[in-house]
Symmetry: D2
């Protein structure tokens, strides 16, 4: 591993100096990506844009890794291999931001800010390429598909990511979140929750809407199940444990006068320990099967596990070193510890598979003044849309500056110093 950049290393400042000139271009890129969101494993236009730009910066670019993933490598002499990761996919959400550059694809939206992740990593790649005299080693930039489906990281690993492009000494990545856009947040240890997604189909028996007595009504069955599922967190999880159970979708029937045959529920569960996870999954199964019995259903419900993200564990030393480097350039008080958050991520798979330390941080997406006003008014939970909301809309600035700066400073921290060798 190379010599660490000192906090006041002039080479970091020099590398970042070019950012101002790039900001117009990067903002345009961000808005273009936002207007053209693509679902998991369908990030074709996004990948083409990444390829075009990374090649222009001088990287060796390989598309199609893990289906729609892209890997961009810059070899720059002997030194550490640093993996920089951004995820690329959007969500099946109907955008309601009212932005001029809102999604042009019906029902698809960059509601989780991956457009910003791609923009900031590309911005950092350009700065790092321009500053190649000041560092030694190998940058492996990973533009990952299908994070929302929990499948992209594993798909890239399975497609030979480390065999083909080298095993990294550290895995670095970042995610935008609803706090002031001039700040960065990172928690050592269990930082992001484990997630399980379930699809549940409950089978009733359809009939004409006027003859419920000949039916087993799946709408009522599903509604009762949703209400009873609320008791899993309220009654079965110890208060000191952290857990979330969300029924994000419920779909049954097409019109009022036909009692349908079935109802479909989409569940999402967040946990931090295997004990709590197991208890919740068991409670869901008990409740769903029991509610079908209560309803007099003749056919058992089907519970299908869709995807599962493990807990993301940030290595303590890697967090300390990376946050110190970022704090030096962002300034005092701009790096905080948010504690564990309930979001989930498959970035942990990259670190685990590579047996490399992981440092995965958050950067803000809210206009600092707007945020401060809402905080003062006590209306944060009403005024600041969270990720996956149809109104989630990170501001371009200072979010892009913060994201590019943090990623560049973190990468330089872990790459070998140019002069020192």
């Amino acid at each position: 591993m190379g010599v660490s950049q000192s906090p006041s290393d002039p080479s970091v400042a020099a590398a970042l100096a070019g950012l101002d000139a790039d900001l117009g271009e990067l903002t345009g890129l961000y808005q273009d990506l936002h207007a053209h969101p693509e679902l998991s494993f369908a990030e074709h236009r996004t990948a083409a844009e990444i390829v075009r730009r990374a090649e222009a910066y001088g990287y060796d670019v390989t598309p199609g890794v893990g289906r729609t993933g892209v890997v961009a490598v810059l070899d720059n002499g002997e030194g550490p291999t640093v993996l920089l990761r951004a995820d690329c996919d959007a969500l099946p959400v109907v955008e309601r931001t009212g932005l001029s550059y809102a999604s042009r694809t019906d029902g698809v939206m960059h509601a989780c800010g991956h457009d910003l992740h791609v923009t900031c990593l590309l911005g950092a790649l350009k700065l790092l390429a321009d500053a190649r005299d000041s560092w030694r080693g190998r940058i492996v930039a990973v533009f990952q598909p299908a994070e929302e489906a929990g499948q992209g990281a594993q798909a890239m690993v399975d497609d030979g990511l480390f065999e083909r492009f080298g095993t990294p000494d550290v895995v670095l990545g970042q995610h935008v979140a609803p706090f002031p856009a001039d700040m960065v947040a990172c928690h050592a240890g269990a930082a992001f929750a484990a997630t399980d997604s379930l699809k549940i189909v409950m089978y009733g028996k359809g009939a004409h809407g006027s003859r419920p007595e000949t039916s087993v009504d799946p709408v009522v069955m599903a509604a009762a199940t949703v209400m009873r599922l609320q008791t899993v967190v309220s009654r079965e999880v110890p208060a000191g444990e952290t857990a979330v159970l969300t029924v994000g979708s419920l779909r049954a029937g097409t019109v009022g006068n036909i009692i349908p045959d079935e109802a479909e529920l989409g569940l999402n569960i967040r946990t931090y320990t295997e004990d709590v996870r197991a208890r919740i999954l068991a409670a869901i199964e008990r409740i769903v099967r029991g509610e079908a019995q209560v309803a007099g259903a003749e056919r058992e419900p089907e519970i299908t596990a869709l995807d599962a993200f493990p807990v993301v564990v940030n290595e303590e030393a890697a967090v300390a070193r990376t946050m110190a480097a970022i704090g030096t350039v962002l300034g005092d008080g701009k790096v905080i510890d948010p504690g564990p958050v309930t979001g989930s991520e498959d970035v942990g798979i990259l670190g685990t598979a590579a047996k490399a330390p992981l440092c995965y941080w958050l950067f803000g997406g809210c206009d600092p003044e707007t945020y401060a006003a809402a905080a003062a008014a006590g209306t944060l939970h009403r005024d600041i849309p969270s990720n996956h909301s149809p109104r989630f809309a990170p501001v371009a600035e200072p979010a892009i500056t913060t994201g590019v700066t943090a990623m560049t400073a973190a990468a330089l921290e872990w790459l070998g110093g140019g002069e020192a060798e």
Copy 2:
């Protein structure tokens, strides 16, 4: 009004004699219509088939009445004008009958038997045309669109049905129902319920599935509303009154890890009196608005009235006369009074608009032996799918024979006797 056919009138027997020879053709027609269902106001293929056949029988046929409706007229000397009505549209149901002639159109199904209504009316039109020597008057056969939407009868009236084709002396029609296929059922007075269909949109506030505290969860709001709506019939309608409130559809969200912005419910209400109807509609509004407040929703729910069928009232004397005629040909014990039923129909609009007496009856669609076995086993409500079920499948025989016979005998009863002139 012409001279009534006597119960043992040999001319009725003569008219029906030709049915046996037609049965193969009619069964093929039924299966073809079943395989090609069309939604309300989109009955183009069905209408073309009706036109082709009715013209071949010698009727004067006008398509495009009330958008996709068809009127076929046979003028046969001075005498009463008799309106014979069949409805033509199918439903947005995914068929699960497993029949060889099941729907070839995804998500559309003749789940209410209108295919059989069209088949039987065409069968009767042929017999009546062939028997034109034995009656005098004018047959106005109305093939109505969009009954399921509650809009077709009104559309035809509004398009000049009576001005263009004559005001009838009686309105006759029939509907298949889940009882033995060799039987007919008719109730004088309030025979079919009034129906109101409502679309309700409840507005929450979307968020990432892991951060429910920043959301107003519309899935929970909708589920609680569905549970509370059950109390309208169980607590607020006097036990001696007849009423049904069905939530036939509930749609919210797309995936488990996104709390959506809103939920949409489709409701259907059946009542027999304006008092009960008004109380139920008021209770629904109170519950829906109240549940939004309970949830802390910032935006009021929207309740939209989609369609409304009035109560269908059969005229007492018309029922007595028509059922007597049908009973004569079907045999003893084959005509019953089912009491009021909870299904709804817009056929009543034709009678009301024409100021003519209405007689609208049910004929069976179940194999008589299968029905008797289920009745003996006490499993009727489990084994016999009702209308609108994805498994609703009237048997071709003896249902077609019964339907053609009933319609023909009823028409001859009301037309003028041939000999009398």
Copy 3:
């Protein structure tokens, strides 16, 4: 059977002439009984009052029949035996009428008007005794205990009611109800519903209120069960059938910070046919057992049948004859047919056990003007408290006049005419 009194029989008018003079006394009796309500099989003070008065009128009185019941007999020559019945017990209701003569016993109230039934039967007994010259036969006045528990009629039959006091030729009785107090209502056939009362204990597992994860919360289990029980009537009973399922009591726990071990529910079911009754009882068992499974309860719920009233069937001819007699004295339009009502009664047991025709009617308890005003305003269901309400308060007049008149006229109709002998 004796000769029927003619509608204009002057002897009826003569018998009733004495009522005016008794009204003050009867009103005082009514208020005294109201102030001293007694629960089922504890009607000791009430029985003593009955004994004292009936003996004073000249009846042969036997207390302690069927525990706390009283029988008063007047033998008056050869003729029919007519059973006149009143029930005597009160309810465990906290009175909220605000009356000056409200209950002086905490938590017990004459909320069903049995105080009025006793008053009116005593009033009739006095008139009948005074008019003994005008009739022949035998009056068996039955003051029945424990009607609310559904046990008193059977207890009196089991205690030899008919063996000891004679088998009646007809059973007559009346009940006050919330309609104008100058009217009487009677329905021939199935007039009052069958009732089943159930006690259900659901077993959870208690814990400190702060540690729900160590509990199985019976409060949540019971609440979910109450909500799901609403679907029995709303989804499982055909709309044309009449049925009521009420959870009248729910008791669990004592304070907020202790999760209790169990919850107890009191259910009451009203039906008119055995089919519907069986389906509802099966649905309750399915739901209660299923909800315990949903909750993860380790112990099965206990469902105990407390009491069951059969359907009360009024004999058609007896109703016609009795109502004609009452109508003659009350005047045109004062006798109506209310259709079947959902209340229940064990009076039917007396008729069935005696194999005698039954005529059991309702008389009004509301001030006619107040009732008319509420009817005009459409606020009947809000302004007129029904039986069992803590605010149920029949007006003394004209309710006592109507009740005494109806009972006296009915009795004279069935007793033998005095002149005829």
Copy 4:
């Protein structure tokens, strides 16, 4: 403040040496107190027993402090004042332990172990009196009433506790909990949750059970409210926060066939921050008032705050010092940090009012072998009853030994050393 006892101080061992001889007596006391539980502010028999014994040990005893509290003082030369606290009251729970010394008072039970607290403090007072040569200072033993009502500590403070008996240098106390009875657990900082208890009365409108349409059913209203209250923790509290909302009691109606006028709910809320507490209290009010509107209630629900315990904050240095002293006598590994617990206590009021550091710890009440077996089988939450359960039954031994030892060692640690002066 006196000189601290060294870990191996022989005077502590000497003081504890007498415990073995007292154990029989103390076990008898424990069983006698358990058999005679008394509710909050009714601890008369318990207080008399305390007075009798403490005087026998040589303490200066004052009963009636804060209504039923007792203060026992031992002045022993110049030195620190150490407050030792035990709470005395029992709970309205029907005992189901099956113990030979189970409660002889129907519906009252020492289900929270206060009997053990009293026993252990009396045991320690005797040892400390016997060992008075080895320490200097002043013991103020506080036997507090009405802890379960959250009112006893404040009542004693308000009654001049510190003015009359001296302001302590430290407040020490202990509580039994469901872990192995040879262990002690203590958490520095926010150790016990804040608690709010609410009584909620929801007003419907009573009616006969057969006529729900004339009622506003409070049983359904309460059940729906209980279900919706589950969403406060499951949807409105951030997953990383600790909060509990329990509906511990729900009482409505008396029998199945009367729809009652109202329902009463008992709620208990546990929180660790004022933000979360405020959000939960607001959500409860919103839900309760909204559910009344949904039900069509004519009268607003009443929400009454019954009691409120603040968060208990253990002072860090006091915890370190006290636990070190206890660990020395109990042995390695017998003192653990359980983290914050969701139980609540009013002991914090004593420390806050005295402006003295507080150290409040837990000691175990489970047979160590039974506990280990349940832990190994993964059945702890099923087999080990928690506080407030009707089956909560701490074992006398080794719980009394642990409790007396811990309290004695802690007191000696804070009192001045005898020899040292």
